[in-house]
Each structure stands twice: as C-alpha cells, then as structure tokens.
C-alpha cells in the first residue's frame, strides 16, 4: 500500500468476488479485462487457475474466491489485472471478479488483530466498511493453503 493509503486516505478499486466486496489500492491496478478465455494446462501451483492473454502478455490468474469468500465462484465476468510484487520481481496478475469495478476513496482503518493477514485494513465507505486486500499476502496465504491441502494425508 502507498504512503497515502497507509496514512489514512487513498484511492482504491472496489471489486466484487462472489457476493462480497473488497478494495485494492488503485496504484497497483493495471486494468479491468473482459471475460477472455482462461487457458489451463497441467501444473502444480494449485492457487493458480490458469492464464489469460492480455495485450500480447501472458497473465497468471489466481483463484482467490475460496480464500476470500470461503467458496469457489464459478461465475466471473471480468478479470482485474494488478501488479503483484513477488520475491523474483513484479508480475501483472489477474483475479476473477464477478462484477464491474469502481474507484473509491475514503478513510482507512487499520486491520483488526483477528483479521487474516491478507487484509491490510478497512476502507470506510458510506454503505459500510470494505476489507482492503494486500495482494502479495493474499497470494502467499493462498499458495500456502493450497500446498497444505495437497500434502494433507
């Protein structure tokens, strides 16, 4: 998150996954992509659903719905493409979203101690608070969870 966002206010993109809304710092967002074809091939990175092709670039798609909402979302209309800072460098990465996204800004509250660490805080909006997603922590948590499920006897 940027210094502006951490300091109390910032610009965010609101996205919908399943029936829930989340916020992502707008500075990380590349684009909202149409429902292009998801390409799948064999791999062992269970948190990755496949790849999409955007502007000649191959973009990995993370299956974030089970982690964020507790269940798989079979209905998604768009892909939100955002920069993900990995240990090996930044990578444009996509999240399937169920509806259109919108820009929003508001007061940012720090996250509760009980909240998962992939939430960076809460964005206060007129119609209620929205969890702010830390994309890097979300992917780390999703990958760890997928790995744990894989090795579970």
């Amino acid at each position: 998150m940027s210094a502006a966002a951490m300091s109390g206010r910032g610009a965010f993109v609101l996205l919908r996954v399943g029936d829930s809304r989340f916020a992502l710092p707008s500075e990380n967002v590349v684009e909202l992509a149409p429902p292009v074809r998801l390409h799948e091939f064999p791999h062992e990175s269970k948190f990755v659903a496949g790849v999409i092709v955007r502007r000649g670039r191959i973009v990995p798609v993370y299956d974030v719905a089970p982690l964020l909402t507790g269940r798989s979302s079979t209905v998604h209309r768009f892909y939100l493409v955002a920069w993900l800072a990995l240990a090996t460098g930044p990578e444009a990465s996509a999240i399937p979203v169920t509806g259109e996204c919108e820009l929003a800004s508001g007061e940012v509250l720090p996250r509760h101690a009980d909240d998962p660490n992939y939430f960076a805080g809460k964005l206060l909006l007129e119609d209620g608070p929205v969890d702010i997603v830390n994309f890097e922590s979300l992917v780390a948590a999703g990958s760890a969870k997928a790995f744990a499920q894989e090795v579970r006897p």
Partner: protein, 177 residues
Amino acid sequence: MKIASQDKAKARRGRHSEQVILFSAGARTFAIAADAVQEIRSTDSLADAAVEMAQADVPKVRHLVERRGRTYFVVNAGAHFGLRVTRPTLVLILRQIRVAVLVDNIERMVEIGAVHSLPKAFEGAEKSWYRGLAYLDDCVIPVIHPAGFLTAEEFARLDVAARSAEAEQPLEGAVER
C-alpha cells in the same frame, strides 16, 4: 535489393521462430521443439524392443527401449504431468536425452513465433517441465523442456533398475518350459 530484403525477412523469421511438434497426452496439448525429437514410432512397432522394468521408484517409467546401442527410459507423458492415464499410441524418442515419451497423438508440426517465459506465479514442478508458453491459434500451449522429464536422481535410480532388468532378461529366456 529485392533478394536482400527477402533474406532479411527470412533471417528475422529464423531468429525468432521455431519448429515444434504439437502432441497430446491425457486430452491436453503440448509442444516440443522438433529438433529435440529424434524419431517418432508407434508403440506397436517398439513393442518387441521394449523391456519391462519392475521398479516402483519412478512410477511414470515402466519400460526401457534399446535404440542404436543406447538405453532410453520410456516416460508416460500422462503420468508425468499428473493427467488421466490414457492408452498412448506413439513414442517420441528424444535426441539429446535418454528418454522416450509415450503420447496419445501427434497433432501437427508448426512454426511458433516466440516462447513466452512461464509466469513467476508458477512455482511447482512445472518450472522444470516447461521452457515456457506459446500462444498459437488463440491457445496457450506449454512448450516442453525435454530435460524435465527425468531428474538426475531419477536417471540414477532407473539405471540401477535397468541393470537388474537387463540381467533378468537372459535368465528368463534360459528357463526351460
């Protein structure tokens, strides 16, 4: 001048493009560089040359074949990629590596313009399976890394198993019936 520009175009095409063989295994399509494949044979035509290996260390390998004095371990592509096991009909015998690959079908040979790096999101065994991804006819196809079929450790274990399999062969033949 005309010839020179044509040559330049050919050189440009040659620098970036690559001939690949598209094959299928377990209902998935893969690409492998054509120059990584020495020959393509039907499983029937290799049946006599295949020696069964009773080893469980590397489950994706059940046979070896001798070709021109070299021993090739036969890797079932479906098992290698964790796919539904089908009945392979063809064997790709690789050029630089002592591996033959059981595949379901050869789709076609095609020229690809570029091999995109595998996204960093992929952190599993696929990093050794694939050289990258090709975008062809609106499809993303993984381009096989031929050396990724067997690790050095698997080769070592299979070499041990192969020696005992080959030692058993003449004994089996010597048994009176």
